[in-house]
Symmetry: C2
Subunit: 192 residues, 2 copies
DNA sequence: CCACAAACGCAAAGAATTTGCTTTTGTGGC
DNA sequence: GCCACAAAAGCAAATTCTTTGCGTTTGTGG
């Protein structure tokens, strides 16, 4: 009975993992993803192809791993002083980032992975950002929709449109935010 | 000046295309997609691997092609006599089909393709089905939301949840439909 | 029926992936 | 500190997939 359950003893795994992921990011910045191969990454990272194959299995899983990391928000949503405009600003920025060519590819990489965990983590990132805005709104005494309602009403249409059609315009996003805010029970809060 | 612009002269392309797609469907029913390879498909279809590579480029594009075909609705949404319940029934069935393991894989295959056309067509299928329900509702004199609003309010949350988290429950879907129907201008139409 | 071009088959060349075995490298016990 | 252990990495051969050049087949339009 011991208290540790992680990779018990082990090798230099963390170091290798980092160098491989860095190599992928660098290559991704340089060339088209369809040109990138495992042997190429291995060379760039200073490891053997078999190391990558054994650790990630396929190129797709490796890309997904890197993509999830890049999709992680690096800061809290900006505070505009109002929940409504917080959400608007965040949604607009989110849509802009995700509808760019690199953004779309990140999402696709995540979804392509067999490991469902990747896409769930990606969703949680949004959920957490929304929760932060909700909490701030609560502290101000404003009403704010349930984070799940925001995922349904704002995030999912944005992502759906990006993946299956055309990226939503700014007006469209404001509209989505407006509709979602409107269903917040009281609906008494103004936009400004 | 002639009136034809399709693949002008040409080979036996249609026949080969069909046999390859059939082979993919059959293999997909038999084994896991990660086990399926181009040479395998080629053998099953009675063609050469190079034929597949030249026509589709990658396994992913071929899978996407087959997936789009399978995602095409084979019939109109059932007519329940009322727009609201039509939409509910359709959404529930859609969610059920798409949240199954095979359904999820179809969506992923479509999204993984470099050819954006595939995912757009997939979206159009839903749009068309919704338009049919809208038209029927109009004929009955009921109000019905704009098809785009249904895509935003009903389809996109369902797809988003399936892709990024857990498939929505039946109750959740009814809720989505309810909220979307409620924003239909007048809001005077009852559910039954 | 002929000429044409797209598409296919074939096979060799070139890459990528898998796999068995050896070596390295942290970790924990002594 | 030093040893023994096991996970992880390196290496290289074997396998499998992908690309490519070239000759052949097969519809289509004249």
């Amino acid at each position: 009975m011991n208290a540790k359950q992680g990779p018990r003893p082990g090798g230099r795994s963390a170091r290798v993992q980092a160098s491989v992921q860095t190599a992928v990011r660098e290559l991704l910045a340089t060339m088209d993803r369809s040109e990138i191969t495992v042997p190429l990454i291995a060379t760039a990272a200073g490891v053997t192809p078999s190391t990558i194959y054994r650790r990630w299995g396929t190129l797709g899983e490796l890309f997904a791993d890197v993509a999830v990391e890049r999709l992680r928000p690096d800061s809290d949503p900006i505070d505009t002083g109002n929940g409504w405009t917080d959400l608007e600003a965040w949604a607009e920025q989110y849509a802009e980032e995700m509808s760019s060519a690199p953004g779309r590819e990140l999402i696709r990489d995540v979804l392509a992975a067999a490991d469902t965990n990747c896409s769930q983590r990606c969703c949680s990132y949004s959920r957490e950002q929304i929760a932060i805005m909700a909490e701030r709104a609560a502290e101000r005494g404003e009403s704010f929709p349930d984070p799940e309602a925001v995922l349904d009403g704002v995030v999912s249409p944005i992502v759906y449109r990006i993946l299956f059609g055309d990226a939503p315009t700014r007006d469209r996003i404001r509209d989505l935010v407006g509709r979602t805010m409107a269903t917040t029970g009281s609906g008494s809060d103004e936009r400004h």
